[in-house]
Every structure is written in C-alpha cells, then in structure tokens.
C-alpha cells in the first residue's frame, strides 16, 4: 500500500522545523482579529443576563438612537422561523427539540445566550449600546445540576416533558451474568467537573456580502469549514457556491473552536442585512460563557473481577450535564464516556449507559479526548481500587487486563442509538506498558509510594489509554504541478495550531518524490478543493495525509501519460525525478517543457474505520497534607502512533496534551452558583496551567504497529495523553495518601478538595 512512498522517509519521520513558525515568531501571522475590510462595521452580542426565563420583549430603541449604531438585530428579524444550529454529528430525531436557536426568542436557557446583535461604527460604540438594550425576561427557577434536573418540576423544554434528552448505551457480552458470577465487585460514584478547551485566541468572524454577485465571504472559520458552509447556506437560504469560507491563522481549537455557534450565522446575517462588512471578536468573559463547555459528568459504575484480578465486567449509569442545548457535536462526549470506558483493557462484558441531561448552563461540546478523559478517570480509579481490595499490585493488575496483540483487532462495546461498532485496529499494549515503566524508572520510584519526605507524601501511578483517530468519511486533496516546477497542495483539512502546513508538505514531498521546499500547502478554505471534512477526532494527518498520497499517485500517473509519447515509451516505463522524466532508452525531458501548462489531480481518501493510537502514562506526585497542594514531580508517557510524520511536532502535541490534562485534573473548573451565574468568568478565576506549574514532563512516541487502515500506516495522535491524566493523577494522589485511606472520586484535585478529603478521612 505504500507505493507512493518508494524513496521512503526522506521527509517523513524527520523533525523538520515548521514553516508556520517563520511568520508566527515575527508577529506576521494573520489571525481573524487582524482581518479588516474596507467599510467594515463592528458587532457585539447582547446575551442573556439570567439563566432561565421567558423572554417577553427586547427594547432596542435607546441603543438604536445612539449615534454610530447601525442596527440591532433580534430574532424578530428572522421572520416566523428562527434558524437553529443543526446537529452535525448523531443527528437523531430525539435530539431535534434541543437544538439552539441562533437568537433566543421565547425563552432564555443559560447566562450568555445570544438575544440580540448590535452593529455599530466601532466596537466601542457597539459596547456602549449594549447597556442601552432592555430585555424583558420573566425569570424562571434555574436548573444547574442533576438533582434539580431530575425533579422535573421545572423543565427547560416544556414540550419535551423531561430534562433528560437521550440515553446512550454501550453493550458488550453479558454484563448481568458476569456480575452474577464474579468473585469480586465494587461500585463507586465519580464526578468530573465542568471545564473547557479554552484556546488562547478568542473566536471571531469578518463577513462580507457582495450584493452584485450575491456572494458571501466569511473569514475566521476553523476545523470544519465545509460542514459549516453547508449549515450557513441552509440557514441563510443561499447555495453553497455563493459562500466562500476563508481559514486564516487559528489560535488553537482543541475540539471547541470551529463548531457552528450562533455567531457563525449572526455575523454573516448582519453583513448581508446591512450590506456592509461586519467584524466580531469575542472577549474573554464572553468566550467563557459562549464557547462550548465540556466534561461535566457524574458516574455510578461497578467493576467485576475474578479473585486473581481479571476484570470481567463493567456496568453502570452516567449522567452528562450537557447544558441548555444540544449543539453540533453535543452527543460525542456522553456517548464516548460509555463506549470508551473500557479503554485499552479487554473487558468482555459491558453495560454502560450515559444520560444526557439538560440544565441552565452553557451548552457542551467536544474538548480534546471528549468523554475519554472522563471515562478513563472512572476506569483507572476502579482498577486501582480493585487492585487494592484484591491485594494485587496495580501494575500487575493492568498487565493481566490489557488487550494483547493476538486479540487485535479487538471490538469495543457497541453503541446505540446511532449504532456504532468499532475495534482497536492494531497494537502491542504490553510492550508499550513495559517501555513506559522502564523509561519512568518505575521500580525505583515505586519505593517512594506513600512515603513522607520533607513534609510531603509521595505517590506514583501508571495507566493506559487508547486514542481514536482518523474519523471518516473522507478527505480531499488536489495537487497542482505549477509552471515553475513547484507543487501546490490544496487540502480539505484545517489548521488548528498543529503544524499542518509542515506535516502535509513532508507527506507530499515524499509522495511526489521532490524536496520539501518544492511543495506549498494551502488548506482549510472552501475554495481549494471540491469538498472536505476538516480537522477533528485526530484525523488530519491520517485522512488529509492519505488523501495527499493518493492524489500524488494520480498526478504522477497523469504526468507519465503526458510525457510518454515524447519519450517514445509506455507510461509505466517513465521514471520521474523531480522536474525531469526519463524513458527506458535513457532519454530525459523536462516535464514542464513537454506539458507546457500546469497539470493537476484531485483525489479523496475514504475510510470508515478508526485508527487507535495507544499508550501508557506514569506520574509521580507529592502531596502536602497541610494544604492539600498536589505537586506533579514528573510525568512520563509512551505512545505508539504507527507512523510518525514529524517527531518534533508529535512530541509537542504529547507534552501539550499532558499539561492540558493536568489543568483538568488539578486546576480548571467552571463554577456556577445556584442562580446559574458563572462565577469563573475571567482567567484570574478560571485557573489554567502556567509555566511554573509542571516543569518535568517527557513523552516518547514510537512506531511499533503501523495502522493497516491507511497508506501511511499512521494513527491519529492529536488528542493523546490528556485522556488518562485525570485517572492517573487521582491514583497517584491515592497512593501518596494511602496512610490516610484517601480515595479521590471527584475532580479537580485542587488544594481545598484534597485537604477536605484528608480531613474527612481522618475523622472516619
């Protein structure tokens, strides 16, 4: 299958420094806030100040009277049918009632829900006008947690009759029988707190309507430009070819940026409404209220094992607090939490359900490792609890349960509704686990387990994870051999900070058998290729990269066909070498001289199956019992990605992913009060990891088992090590505090929370 890569590894596998860096390091990137159009106006969004209420009316007159204000748009401007955000993934009829309107009209359901959009000469004037809007809202009691939602006396969606939106079921084998026959079972309840992707560049758009040509251009799209173009075309009653979505530099995504939000519609709508370019840049407080939240999950899960530590069953119920609406990908985390809770372990009998519960909080969506971070927290904790109960070394317990190479491909639990079957494609979990233990120097560090040294208790832990990648259905590439002999690669994948220009040029260079600097990569915008799917689910390298390999083959065939007559041979006899082609008799011609004009090919890579990268992560922590402070002394990870394109960027993804995970495990928490007001509305309240927090992180990435599913052999690897971090840190804290018998069952393990655990344990 690797015919396109004959010369092999000239570029692929090399730690090539990124081309992107040359502009970013000099302040020459173009992010959406840097885009300006002639005559543009500025928009701000008026958002609901209350969590739940009936929206009676919006009085915008005073705002409209302010000099410099051009328009205040409310849902009334949309006519009878207020457009809604569609379900991009899992578009089940059951979820239709929970879709979010682009502007609230009858009800508001969370603080920050868009009610009106103000457009003015400057952003400052528009912000001044915000204070002049008067929304008449009859407040209703807010629902912020599961208990409140389950009471059912207050409903977010009256016509639905319940605050539970849907149930997701993961089933494998016969859990009931397994639990009935098990030597050992243990049942616990767990909580993962609401937190978020929080990329550093706030969202934003610039939209421009060309009335003469009836064409719309939108700058600032990310991740899934093609899907969003389809949604925008539907909601604005345009055809797709009337819309150009332009991707500029993107300051981080992590699953959240680029999904279709109300603003994705509102800004283009305002631009057409006023026939002027309109710009909107989110501020940070707005971001914390408006962009997808993630992770909030409660679980009541039970593990069953034999007395020698073979896990035979996992069953239970989880509740995902999904916030006020189901947005584009709002079902991914709840379903993943069920399907992937077994992770890298061979657990034959599974019965796990997640209920998606609506509450008066910001809607949730995907954040790096969606549902997996949560599910892995539960599973890794349960394995350590079971190992302790059974008197088995937690390392040995994991070894006994990891899926072995000869069990591959290994099917995971089957999901319903929206039935989905998936299997671990390949891998050697045991080899990687042992490598991680060795690199971490486990046998030495484990001697510190539970020891008090200089006032802090030490603990170590190790856990394993899988990472699904390469979501289908397809990705497109187009490659043009230009007149000057260079190649331009156009790609449907999107950049979200992962270095796609560099990685794709490496793949293209090898596939075309030309040097790196002869290849230019353009991506993300809808005008480049016929269709495209974008960047999510660790898919860009595998899907986009494989599309490049296929397209390069097609282009080379075309070139051979074109030069064969001149060389007096058959196309298969032509040898291509950079800009030249030669025949069997030794004749050499310049490709461009023969062809005389740019020549191009376009192809798609289709794939329905997921790749599964996998690995292990070990942690060493020290806990101060007086303050509850958890210091992470070291994290070491090992991961198999099948085929590595660029070790420099791949390791960067790993370390970044680990530190994000540590944020979720120890610091980050979107806290609401009982009224449904977000209390952590600034970066001073919502704590992110900083440079001093986690100095000692290292990652190893290996190419052990190439994926059989694509011509590169690569496995998606962008989400990575974040997945098991919550569980691993909690296990290390439990190991450190073994003398206190502290067993953390909730995240984050912030100083007050850990301190309370110690206090409670000491009292009992």
């Amino acid at each position: 299958m690797t015919s396109g890569m004959k010369r092999g590894n000239a570029l692929i596998g090399q730690p090539i420094e990124r081309v992107e860096d040359l502009r970013f390091l000099r302040g020459r990137g173009t992010f959406v806030a840097d885009v300006n159009r002639e005559g543009q106006l500025h928009a701000v969004i008026y958002r609901s100040p209350v969590a739940h209420g009936l929206l009676r009316s919006v009085d915008a007159q005073a705002a409209l009277n302010l000099p410099g204000v051009h328009a205040v748009i409310t849902a009334q401007d949309f006519g009878a049918d207020v457009p809604v955000i569609p379900l991009r993934l899992q578009p089940l009829p059951e979820l239709v009632p929970f879709r979010q309107p682009m502007l609230a009209h009858d009800k508001v359901r969370y603080v920050g829900e868009p009610i009106a959009i103000i457009v003015a000469d400057t952003a400052a004037i528009a912000e001044d006008a915000l204070d002049l809007i008067d929304a008449d809202i009859d407040a209703l009691p807010p629902i912020t947690d599961r208990a409140g939602a389950e009471l059912g006396d207050v409903l977010l969606f009256d016509e639905h009759g319940s605050n539970s939106a849907i149930e997701w079921n993961a089933v494998r084998g016969d859990a009931e029988a397994a639990f009935a026959s098990a030597d050992y079972t243990r049942r616990e309840t767990f909580k993962v707190q609401r937190h978020a992707a929080l990329f550093m560049e706030p969202r934003g758009f610039v939209a421009e309507w060309n009335a003469n040509e009836e064409k719309l251009t939108v700058w600032g799209v990310a991740k899934v430009a093609f899907a969003n173009r389809t949604i925008l075309a539907d909601t604005m009653a345009l055809s797709e070819n009337q819309i150009d979505m332009v991707e500029v530099d993107v300051g981080g995504g992590f699953g959240s940026r680029g999904e279709f939000y109300p603003e994705d519609f509102l800004i283009p709508f305002a631009a057409r409404h006023l026939n002027r370019p309109v710009k909107w840049i989110e501020d940070r407080r707005e971001h914390l209220l408006a962009a997808n939240h993630a992770r909030e999950l409660e679980c009541d899960v039970e593990i069953a094992a034999t007395k020698d530590g073979k896990i035979i069953g996992l069953r239970g119920q989880s509740w995902a607090n999904i916030g006020a609406y189901v947005r584009t990908n709002g079902s991914i985390a709840p379903r993943n939490a069920a399907q992937f809770m077994s992770g890298a372990y061979a657990i034959e009998n599974i019965q796990l359900t997640t209920t998606s519960i609506t509450t008066n909080k910001t809607p949730t969506g995907t954040y790096r490792g969606p549902g997996r971070f949560e599910g892995d927290f539960v599973r890794e904790r349960l394995i350590d609890l079971a190992a302790k109960d059974l008197g088995i070394d937690p390392v040995e317990m994991r070894r006994r349960n990891l899926v072995s190479s000869d069990q591959m491909p290994y099917p995971l639990a089957t999901m319903t509704p929206f039935e989905s079957v998936t299997e671990l494609d390949s891998g050697d979990n045991h080899a990687l686990f042992d490598q991680c233990l060795a690199e971490f120097d486990w046998s030495e560090k484990v001697k510190l387990q539970g020891k008090l040294i200089d006032g802090r208790y030490h603990g170590v832990s190790i856990g394993c994870f899988i990472e699904g990648g390469a979501a289908g259905p397809s990705e497109n590439a187009r490659i043009v051999l230009e007149l000057d002999g260079s190649y331009t690669v156009y790609l449907g994948s999107a950049a979200v900070g992962q270095g796609i220009q560099t990685i794709m040029a490496q793949i293209a260079g090898d596939a075309l058998e030309v040097p790196f600097d002869r290849v230019r990569v353009l991506h993300g915008s809808t005008s480049h290729v016929k269709s495209g799917f974008g960047s999510f689910h660790s898919r860009s390298t595998v899907m986009g990269g494989s599309a490049i390999v296929l397209t390069a083959e097609a282009l080379k065939d075309k070139i051979r066909d074109a030069v064969a007559p001149t060389l007096g041979c058959t196309p298969t006899e032509v040898t291509l070498d950079g800009g030249n082609a030669s025949g069997p008799s030794g004749g050499v011609v310049s490709i461009m001289e023969v062809i005389g004009e740019p020549i191009e090919a376009e192809a798609a890579f289709l794939n329905k199956k997921y790749t599964y990268a996998y690995g292990s992560v070990a942690a060493h922590v020290a806990v101060d019992p007086k303050t509850g402070q958890v210091d992470v002394l070291e994290i070491g990870s090992t991961k198999d990605v099948g085929r590595m394109i660029n070790p420099l960027t791949l390791n960067g993804q790993s370390v970044g992913s680990i530190v994000q995970g540590l944020g979720g495990a120890l610091l980050e928490h979107l806290v609401y009060d009982k009224e449904g007001q977000l209390l952590t509305g600034t970066l001073a309240d919502y704590l992110l990891p900083t440079a001093g927090d986690f100095p000692n992180i290292h990652s190893t990435v290996v190419e052990l088992k190439p994926s059989p599913l694509n011509p590169l052999g690569a496995k998606g690897a962008g989400e990575g090590e974040i997945i098991p971090i919550g569980g691993i840190i909690a296990n290390a804290v439990a190991a450190a505090l073994v003398d206190f018998n502290v067993e953390p069952l909730e995240l984050p393990l912030s100083p007050p929370n850990v301190w309370r655990l110690i206090e409670t344990a000491q009292k009992t």
Binding site: E17, R18, E20, D21, L22, R23, F24, L25, R26, G27, R28, G29, T30, F31, A33, D34, A124, L198, F199, M200, E201, P202, D249, V250, G251, G252, F254, D283, R284, V496, G497, Q498, G499, L648, T649, N651, G652, Q653, V655, G656, S657, I658, V659, Q660, T682, L683, A684, L688, P689, T690, A691, G692, D693, F694, P695, I697, H698
Partner: protein
C-alpha cells in the same frame, strides 16, 4: 488626544480617544498586529510589549500613558533576513504551536534576557508564568529561552534590528 511615542525605532504621533488601550492603538491605528489580545484583562500576557525596557501588558496600558515612551513590539524584535537567536531557539524547540501566545512570549523573554542573560530555569519559569500558552505545555518554551541565553550574554548577537 494627541500622543507621541517611539515604536520600533520610529517616532509616531497618533490621535486617540483617552479610553483606547495601547494594545488597540498598536493594532488598529498603527497596524502592528503582532501584539495579540487573549484576555484584555491582564492575565494572559499575549499583549506584552516592551516599554522603556520593561515588559508591560499593553491591554492594561492606555495609549495616552505611553506618551513619550519608547516601545518595542514583536515586530521590532524581528528582521526580514533571518530569525533572531531567540526566535530560532523557539523554532528549534517547537516552542510554539498555534502561535497566538508567541509574540508575548518573545517580548517577555527578550526583556528578561536583556536584563538577566544568566537567568536560570527557575527564574525563566517564574517570569514566563505570567504568559499563558494553551498549546505547548511550556516545556519547550523554557528550553528555548534557556538556549537563547548565550546570544544575550554577547549582546551583538541578540540584537535583532
């Protein structure tokens, strides 16, 4: 209000409303868009510029406060021909992913190393902890800044402009 300052070696005079931040003035009036805004409330450090030798958050500084000052932005720490040693170290260590925090990291690190070319790892971490990066996990940023120290010990090499 008329405000006059020196930015990246050029003396400029701008007419701004008193409420305009230095960050907005640099970006919108002077088109120096390398200075980024990640929070506009003084926490993320993306907007850091160097005013009279000190790293300062331009989102918390009013343009009028900069009257008479000498300001250096990331653009002023760059040249067309080659990356500076600091920038090259960032590239080599893959100390940037999305690149959004990068201008603030470069200005902060430059101000630090200009004053303290022998700053140790702990000092570098401490100073950089005022700048948030969501992508890299900081490890490569610290490595890059430590590597760039050599160039600042010998000031000729570090001079970008």
């Amino acid at each position: 209000m008329l405000v006059k300052f020196n930015v990246n070696g050029d003396t400029v005079e701008v007419d701004v409303e008193p409420r305009v931040s230095l960050a907005d003035c640099l970006r919108d009036v002077l088109h120096l868009t390398g200075t980024h805004l990640g929070c506009e409330h003084g926490v993320c450090g993306a907007c850091t510029v160097i005013i009279d030798g000190e790293a300062v958050r331009s989102c918390l500084t009013l343009a009028v406060q900069a009257d008479g000052a000498t300001i250096v932005t990331v653009e002023g720490l760059s040249n067309d021909n080659a990356l500076t040693p600091l920038q090259a170290a960032f590239r080599k260590h893959h100390a940037l992913q999305c690149g959004f925090c990068t201008p603030g990291m470069i200005t902060t690190a430059h101000a630090l190393l200009t004053e303290e070319p022998d700053a140790d790892a702990e000092r570098v971490r401490d100073v950089l902890s005022g700048n948030i990066c969501r992508c890299t996990g900081y490890v490569p940023i610290v490595e890059a800044v430590l590597e760039a120290r050599a160039a600042y010990a010998n000031p000729d090499k570090a001079d970008a402009s």
